[in-house]
Symmetry: C2
Subunit: 569 residues, 2 copies
C-alpha cells in the first residue's frame, strides 16, 4: 500500500486514557480507537494484525481437524434458561428484548448454542468425534473494563466445542487442542505457559489455562523454580506448615479494645501472626459460611466455593450478617459459639496449638484456642499458596507471578449435554450424552499480549507473522526522481514476491516516516536516500542497527529474513 | 476435507419453515440453521461460501483503494442522538442498557460511527479522499423477518463510507464503488442490475441500488424494454395520461349508500375508474395530508414523503383522523371542504375533467368535480408508474418486475458531516464539512440471492468461485482397495494444486453420496468405481451429463474447468 493514500493515525503524545504499554501503543500507532468504555473500533492497521492472528488460529484449528462454524451473537433466553445459566450469569450478561418483548442476550460464550446444535445434528456415534469452532464477537459487560482490548466488553474470541462418545475420546480431543494452542501461541511469537486451572464444580484436573506473564495480569500464577509445574493460584494446592506441638492451655478471654486487624493484634499480643487464626464470614448463595485460616494466610475463594459444591456467588457477608453470626462488630469473629451454616477450617489451623481467635464479643479475643477441643469444622485446603512453599509436583520452592489468560481448554464432560438432553446413539443402540470439551482463545487479548511482550521505547516490534506490513520502503525525498523511482521499483518487486510492503510516499520529513514505521512496528525498513547515487541504500531490522547495503542485494536480504522466521512467501 | 470426519447435515425432506428455494436449499444442504426468528447459525459448509463471498468483496474493495476497518456492533446512544436518528429509528433498532444504565444500540448501520471517526482522525484536505469499509454484523429488528437469510435480523453487511473534499471528489468515489460493485456481483455469478433509487430527503439522482430479479423480492423495479433505464418503483417518474378535454359541468351530489371502493363506484356509476379521483388521507409525522390520484392509480408513498421534505413516518390516517378531516366515514373523502393540513394532487388528476370524488359526507359522492374551479392543492407526481407507461429515458414502454436489493450506493453529501460538525481544513485554511458517500452490500443476502439464481431440482449449482468445495471425489465402494487408493491419490493431487477437494469416504451408498454432492452444489464430481479396473473414471459437471474418461486425464479436466471460469489456481 502507498501511504499517501492511507489513513495514518499515529499520535506523538501518550494518550491519557491508557495505563499499560500495549494500550498506549495501540492508540499511538493508530490501531484502535475507543467507541465507549470497553468498546473499541479497529483502524486499518490494527485490523490487519487481528486478521493475521485470526488466520493463524484458523489454520491450526483446521489442521487439528476442527471445522469452522459461525453462531449468532444474539441468543434467545430460552436456551440459557434450559441450561440454568440465564439466572446465574448476573450483570456480566448484556440482555435485551426484541420488538415482541422476547428476551435475548448477547452471547458471552456459546456452550448452550453448540450443545443445542449437536443434539439436533449429531445422531450416531458414527459421526463422532466432532470439533466445531468459531472466531466470533463476544459480549461481557465487565464491571471494570480496562487496559484497552486486554479486557473489553465487546471482543473477539475463538471458541471451540468438541463432542466425543466417551472420556477417552475427550482426552484425545483435549490433547489435540492443547497441541494446537501451543502452535498458535508460538506462531504469534508469544510466550504463553500452559498452567493447571480450576475447573470449578466439575472437578478433576480437567482444565488448563494458557498464561502470559504480565505485571498487569489479573491472575496469580504459581510456577515451580525446579520443575515444569505451573498452576493458577486458584488451583495450586497449599502445603501445611505444621506448628510445633504444645500442651493445650486453658482458654483465656482477653479484652482487646478496638484491636481488630492481624497487624494490631500481633502488636497488642506481641507475638507472630502464625499464632492467630482469622475467621472470615461469607455469604455463599445465601448460606452463611465461616472460613478459618492462619493469621498470615489468605482465603482462596475458589477452593472454598468448590468445596461448597460450586456455588454461583461467594461474597463477604454484610455487617448485619456478621453481627447475626457473632453478636459482635466486625473484627471479633471466632469459631467458638458462632452461629453459622458451616465452618470451614484450613488444615493448617487444625494443626495449630494454643492460638488466638476472636471471642464473638466486641472488644474481646480468646487465647489458647485448640481445634478439636474448643471447636470443630470441615477441615480442608482453603488458602492461597505463598512464595517459598513446596511445589506440589516436585517439592522444590515455588514462585508466584502475575499473568494474563490468553487461552483456556476445558473438559466439560457431560455437564451441558446431560442438562440439555443432548444425546447420540451408541454402538449398542442406547442414547448417551455427548462428552464435551470447550476451548477458548481471546483473539483480541492475544493481540494486546503480543504487544506487551514485543515493544521498545520507539514502538511496537511485531513478529513478522503478525506485522500489519512486512517492509516499509521510504524514499527520503519524494521530490528526488531517482529516489522515488528506485523506491517504487523495490516496492513493486517486493509485492510481486508476496511481501506485504508499504511505500511511504507521503510528503513528510524522513524523520517523521522513520518514527511512524517504528511506532507501527514494521519489521524491516528500506531507506532510499542520497547514497542511491552510489548504488547504496539503508536496510534496517526494527530492533537492529542500520546497515548500508547495495541496492541489488536488498531483495535477497528481505528473503533471508522471511526464511529465518520460517515464513513462506 | 475427508467427509468421514465432517459434520454433514443434509436433509432429504423439505423443511416446513422455508418458503423460498434458497431458504429451503440452505436448510437441506446443511448450510444454515435457525437460532431464533430471523437469526441464523452458519454451519461449516455455509460459512465456507460466506467467506468466499467476503473475500471477493474484500479484494474488490481493496483494489478500488478502500481500506478495511472494523467498528463495534454495540454503539452508544449519544452518537445517534447527535445525528438525530436515535428517536427517529423506531422499533427496527435493537436497544439495550449496560450495567450502569447507559443506553446503547446494536448498529443497524454505521454512518454516525464513520463520521465520528473522520472528524477525529482526518484533519486536512491533504489526507483526502479516504474510503473505509467493513464486513461486519448488523442488527435490524425487522417487523417480518422472512426467507431465511434473505431478510434476517442479524446479518452480515459490507458497508463503506467515503470522505471527499468536494462534490467532484464524491462523484469519483461513487463511480469507483459502482465499478467495484459490478465486478463483485459478476464474480459472484449473480445478475444484479444497477437501478436508480430514491435518495430520500437529500434529493438529486444520487442513489443507485443493485437489484436481483426475484419473485419474492420486496421491491418493484421498473425496466425499460428498449433502453438501459431501470429504477426502483419508489423513484421512477410517472407520465401524465391526459384526459380528453370536456366543458366543465355543474357539481352534482349523488347518494352512494355503502358504495366506497373504486370497484363498487365504477359499477354503481357504470363508468371507468379513470373518471374517479381517490382522496387518501395520511398522517405524516403528525400532520394530516390528503393525496389525490386517479381511481386506477396507486399512491407512491416515497414520492409523497420526499415532497413533504423527507418525513420520518408516513402512515394511513386513523379512522378518527379521517372523520375529523371529512366529517364522514372512510370511503367518502374528497377534496372539496376537507379540513386538512395539506392537499397533494397528482398531475393526472389536475388534468382530468368532470370527475367523481367523495363528498365528505357519509353515503355521498360528487360528480363533475374539476381542479382549479372546485379545489386547489399542490400538484406533482405522487403515484406509482404502471406497466406500459413511457420510459422516462427513451419513451418506450416500461415493464415492472419484483426485485431484491443486494447493494446500495449513495451520495450522502454533507448530511451527516454538517449535523455532526465533521470538518477538515481546506486549501485556504478554512473548515469544511466532508462530502460523504456510503455504499452497502448485503453479504448474507447476496449468498441467498446467488442460490435463487443458481439451483435446479437436485440442489444448489454454485458458481466455482463461491462453491464450498470445488470437486468431490467419490469412491463408490470404500471397501474396494483400488478404488480407495485411486480416490485418495486424486484427492491429494487436487489439493496439492490448490483445488479445494472433498473426499467422500463415508460408509454410505454411492447414491447417497451423489445426492449430497448435488444438493450441496459441488461444481465437479469425480467418481471412482468398478471401471477403474480399465483405467476409467466418471467425471461430471454439476449441471452436465456424466463423461467416462481415462483416470490420467482427470486432473487436466479439472484444470480446464478452472481456466474456463477464469479462476487462478
Amino acid at each position: 500500500m502507498k501511504m499517501a493514500n492511507m489513513l495514518v493515525s499515529t499520535l506523538r503524545e501518550v494518550p491519557a486514557e491508557a495505563e499499560i504499554d500495549s494500550h498506549k501503543l495501540m492508540l499511538r500507532a493508530g490501531m484502535i480507537r475507543k467507541m465507549a468504555s470497553g468498546i473499541y473500533n479497529y483502524m486499518p492497521l490494527g485490523l490487519k494484525v487481528l486478521k493475521n492472528i485470526e488466520e493463524i488460529v484458523r489454520q491450526e484449528m483446521n489442521d487439528a481437524g476442527a471445522q469452522e462454524f459461525l453462531a449468532s451473537a444474539i441468543l434467545p433466553a430460552e436456551l440459557w434458561q434450559e441450561s440454568g445459566r440465564w439466572d446465574v450469569y448476573g450483570e456480566e450478561m448484556f440482555r435485551l428484548k426484541d420488538r415482541n418483548n422476547r428476551e435475548f442476550c448477547l452471547g458471552p460464550t456459546h456452550e448452550e448454542v453448540f450443545t443445542d446444535m449437536a443434539r439436533n445434528e449429531i445422531k450416531s456415534y458414527k459421526q463422532l468425534p466432532v470439533n466445531l469452532y468459531q472466531i466470533q464477537t463476544k459480549y461481557r459487560d465487565e464491571r471494570r473494563p480496562r487496559f484497552g482490548i486486554m479486557r473489553s466488553r465487546e471482543f473477539i474470541m475463538k471458541d471451540a466445542y468438541s463432542f466425543d462418545k466417551d472420556q477417552e475420546g475427550l482426552d484425545v480431543s483435549f490433547d489435540k487442542m492443547n497441541e494446537a494452542y501451543v502452535k498458535i501461541f508460538n506462531r504469534c511469537g508469544i510466550n504463553a505457559k500452559c498452567v493447571e486451572a480450576d475447573s470449578g464444580a466439575i472437578g478433576g484436573s480437567n482444565s488448563a489455562e494458557f498464561m502470559v506473564k504480565s505485571e498487569v495480569g489479573e491472575d496469580d500464577v504459581v510456577f515451580c523454580n525446579a520443575c515444569d509445574y505451573a498452576a493458577n493460584m486458584e488451583k495450586a494446592p497449599s502445603t501445611v506448615d505444621k506448628a510445633e506441638k504444645e500442651e493445650a492451655k486453658e482458654l483465656v478471654k482477653t479484652e482487646t479494645p478496638n484491636i481488630r486487624t492481624i497487624e494490631e493484634l500481633t502488636s497488642f499480643f506481641n507475638t507472630s501472626a502464625k499464632k492467630f487464626a482469622k475467621t472470615l464470614i461469607f455469604n455463599a448463595d445465601g448460606k452463611i459460611v465461616a472460613v478459618m485460616v492462619r493469621g498470615d494466610r489468605e482465603v482462596n475463594e475458589t477452593k472454598v466455593s468448590n468445596d461448597l459444591g460450586g456455588i454461583a456467588q461467594l461474597e463477604m457477608a454484610s455487617a448485619e450478617d456478621v453481627f447475626k453470626a457473632t453478636n459482635a462488630a466486625i473484627g471479633f469473629a471466632g469459631p467458638i459459639g458462632i452461629k453459622i451454616d458451616e465452618l470451614l477450617v484450613d488444615e493448617e489451623v487444625a494443626n495449630m496449638y494454643n492460638f488466638i481467635v476472636g471471642a464473638n464479643e466486641t472488644g474481646f479475643h480468646l487465647e489458647n484456642a485448640n481445634y478439636g477441643r474448643d471447636f470443630e469444622g470441615k477441615v480442608g485446603d482453603y488458602r492461597n499458596i505463598t512464595i517459598g512453599e513446596k511445589c506440589p509436583a516436585c517439592g522444590s520452592e515455588i514462585t508466584i507471578a502475575r499473568g494474563t489468560e490468553v487461552g483456556h481448554i476445558f473438559k466439560l464432560g457431560t455437564k451441558y449435554s446431560e442438562t440439555m438432553k443432548a444425546t447420540f446413539m451408541d454402538e449398542n443402540g442406547k442414547d448417551k450424552p455427548f462428552v464435551m470439551g470447550c476451548y477458548g482463545i481471546g483473539v483480541t487479548r492475544t493481540m494486546a499480549s503480543v504487544i506487551e511482550q514485543h515493544h521498545d521505547e520507539y514502538g511496537i516490534t511485531w513478529p513478522l507473522a503478525l506485522a500489519p506490513y512486512h517492509v516499509s520502503v521510504i524514499p527520503v525525498n519524494i521530490k528526488d526522481e531517482e529516489q522515488m523511482e528506485i523506491a517504487e521499483k523495490l516496492y513493486n518487486e517486493l509485492r510481486a514476491l508476496g511481501v506485504d510492503a508499504l511505500l511511504d510516499n507521503r510528503n513528510e520529513r524522513a524523520g517523521v516516516k522513520f518514527k511512524d514505521s517504528e511506532l507501527i512496528g514494521i519489521p524491516m525498513r528500506i531507506t532510499v536516500g542520497k547514497k542511491i547515487g552510489d548504488g547504496e541504500i539503508e536496510f534496517k531490522l526494527r530492533t537492529k542497527e542500520v546497515e548500508v547495503i547495495r541496492v541489488e542485494d536488498v531483495i535477497n536480504k528481505v528473503k533471508e529474513e522471511f526464511k529465518k522466521n520460517n515464513f513462506k512467501l
